[in-house]
Symmetry: C2
Subunit: 336 residues, 2 copies
Amino acid sequence: MIYTAEDIKSIVSEIIENRKSEGGIDSLYFVGCGGSLGALYPAKVFMDRESSVLRTGWINSNEFVHSVPKKFGKNSILCVACHQGNTPETVAAAKLGHEMGAAVIILTWKDESPIIEFGDYIIKYSFDPSVDHLGNKIDHGSDKVICALLIAAELLAMTEGYDHLPELYYGRKKLTGIIEDAREKLMGRAQAFAEEHAADSFIYTMGSGASWSSAYMESICIFMEMQWLDSAAIHSGEFFHGPFEVTDENTAFMLQVSEGSTRELDERALTFLNKYARRVEVIDAREFGLGAIDASVVDYFNHTFFNSVYSCYNSRLADVRKHPLSTRRYMWKVEY
Amino acid sequence: MIYTAEDIKSIVSEIIENRKSEGGIDSLYFVGCGGSLGALYPAKVFMDRESSVLRTGWINSNEFVHSVPKKFGKNSILCVACHQGNTPETVAAAKLGHEMGAAVIILTWKDESPIIEFGDYIIKYSFDPSVDHLGNKIDHGSDKVICALLIAAELLAMTEGYDHLPELYYGRKKLTGIIEDAREKLMGRAQAFAEEHAADSFIYTMGSGASWSSAYMESICIFMEMQWLDSAAIHSGEFFHGPFEVTDENTAFMLQVSEGSTRELDERALTFLNKYARRVEVIDAREFGLGAIDASVVDYFNHTFFNSVYSCYNSRLADVRKHPLSTRRYMWKVEY
């Protein structure tokens, strides 16, 4: 059976019920590769910050199967993300989780794929059509990032307790409207960005907190994978402890200024860049109204906001550089 | 009072004893900035993998003070690393930890500094003289990385139990000899590397597991900070999920092939690079005998091995590029 984001509350409840006689659920591990791993990061940060009892982990699939945490087993939930359901390392991770008796939740975008057989629950998520060109209806509140977040929050609420579920669901409802507005407003800036950076060979992305991962995904999945540009994702708080020494008037930066608890880290980076850099693209979540989401939970919505507005930039950049986002030289083409 | 690595067992024991009446110690947080944060990563991975009960976190200092984990408090140990003891964000983190009643352990290299007053225990670590040019006697088994690892392992052994302390202390004893031999053997390769990359503007580092962090530190502290080269640290397992698309015959890589559980991830990256790249510097921990350390703990020694042999490369690169490692344009020079 294929579930959706709407089923997460009952899925988590069922897992807890089923594990009662075996000591309950005491840990939640997030495992994936590349963009699918990045998408699970906000939920991991949520667990790190909000949970007092449950253990968590956020691990690349291949690293996970080679060095399974001692704690992992029948009292664990393994949440894996796998877009097409056929990434060999993530299939192996789901298989291992299944064999070790964990409750395996698979976030995927396809109804059928090799990974399906190893999942206790298959959740089909919403996916941004401006990236996949298939024209699906957008519901950013049901993308894989938010699915993972809901799994974490529901698990927390049902075990040790969590006070901000209403704010979280309200934020989820607001998200799509905020993103759609922002995309419209950003079209002009995205075109200018694409023209400015058409001949570049290198660009840094930067972010902090639970949305560092959208900077990571933009860097590795878009700039490196889909545009063959050299790139690195810098944490805004780490910037001042090494990375900032590369800054000069030619260095290109794409900076996320987030809404929420780590905003000051991003603002500090912006102040520095405004002084010493010349080629900085700033996306400020506050400018586009993400602050309408309650302060208790807004941190965890920045990732989807940034990740979703990036697609304006990505399509413009691909067009101007005449390098379609679908172009690959190794992925799915050679053995590796 | 200033302690050393030799005092860690008694420090951890004293903390546990002192917290007994308040519910004991249930968490160990690692906090720092840049290279000091990177150095705490192996201990964090150790906790993630080996512990079943204690919570852990590995957080940039400024992010930590802006979004303190809910769990953090009087039942926590806060382990911060701060080389000169004056990094403002890390001083703020130690101060916050002190105010919130955590047991604060400070790993530092100086006897006196602003951070000292916020520490319950000040541990002075060994520091590699080939980096700081002060000619101190080298003891790699007492650097900040190993100090943090010993804190984690002793805490684990004294609370939930840990079976491999003897192997860990044996590994610690072997480390300096292995590194000294490797450095001698690598001198020629380091010189060739420096000449090969003298005119480059970009270089990737790559690693996996508990030693991903030495690739991170080489990237942000040496290439970016001390050589003003653009750079990124790639996780060997993540490489195949985006980053590898940038590979061509000109792309420069510095690849760590680790000893231990995630070695296969690094070897897979090497196989790919041998086929599609031309400019790859490989440092293989096995070639230099790190395998003499027991398989149960060897993962946690790769970081110090790589980090310490990098200094051969760093000094050669700085000489050939005529860009001394001490050159800065922003750090300690402008306000930020």
